[in-house]
Symmetry: C3
Subunit: 138 residues, 3 copies
């Protein structure tokens, strides 16, 4: 059985983190798949998906960590060609990754209590984001 | 066809790495799916899954690398709220990721000879870990 | 429905990046699955998969970033055992990851316009790489 859906979010720009768990839970509770997997994929090259405890400390820590490891700079090859100031956004998004798969058990995501599914905006300006969701199983 | 299972491990604390490949191989050999994918997901926000050559050198190198990039510190926002000394554990686990999908061919994981599926404990104390396994295919 | 395939590439050594999107598009267009997911997995412990805007700037930026975060060195535990000069290759490949899942919609990968699926060689010498592709859905 295949169940497809889309999650849409307007982000506030670099470092803005959105908890997608409640929407994923609603979607799975109402869907046809009892046991299997839910795949989420953010379309575009400057945003990422991941799991994290969604609390204010880590909401700030993760973007700060990525900026320390992959700082904004005009020295990236991407900058020299495009001059759009988001070379670090591309690299941060590639490192964290656009794709996440979560187990589905009894129409719920099998996450830890302090483990949420989040969308992280890595681009330097507000963006409208689409997350493609594919639930498969029986 | 959907085949679900759980792998359980007791870890020794930060940097403890477990090779899950033998248990995954047994599970696939005995299961109903001949060709498809095996999805593994570690429940909780301070452990991660990945692939690596499982040998003593890299077993030490990977946790040391993560501690160099994301060092233990009391300065994380997460620390200021919770004081449990594992802010770096959360960030390391998020960066490496909780989710891994492996191809299944003829009831075996299609891995390289020196490529194993591992669980990495990122938390600062021993934990009991559950890995949800979902095998799908035909 | 399960559709399996292999993509083969000869790489030029460390930092060589290959755009797999055209081959993935052809494979999906000719395959039986209209909606679902395409899972790609590079066999071996010193190469990785990811998504990135495939342009010359970022093609250089990503390997340079990985070399800055995880530099070549003889000090890795892996080196002391094997002396093959690719300890950093293993760690870079583990961090970026060997596995990527992409949504399939109407027999096409649901990627952004500037978001390509790439294979990154992390090893220090040219290698022949096999990417296992598993397309599932209906």
């Amino acid at each position: 059985m295949v169940h497809t859906a889309e999650i849409h979010r307007a982000t506030a720009g670099h470092g803005d983190m959105h908890d997608l768990t409640p929407e994923l839970e609603r979607l799975l509770a109402a869907g046809p798949v009892r046991n299997g997997t839910a795949h989420l994929f953010v379309v575009g090259s400057t945003a990422a998906l991941g799991t994290i405890e969604f609390e204010p400390g880590l909401q700030a820590d993760l973007p700060q960590l990525l900026d320390r490891l992959i700082p904004p700079s005009r020295d990236y090859g991407h900058e020299r060609a495009w001059h759009d100031g988001n070379g670090h956004s591309h690299l941060q998004a590639t490192l964290l990754g656009p794709s996440l798969t979560v187990p589905v058990r009894e129409r719920r995501p099998a996450l830890g209590t302090w483990q949420q599914v989040v969308l992280l905006e890595c681009d330097v300006r507000p963006r409208r984001r689409t997350v493609q969701v594919t639930v498969m199983g029986e």
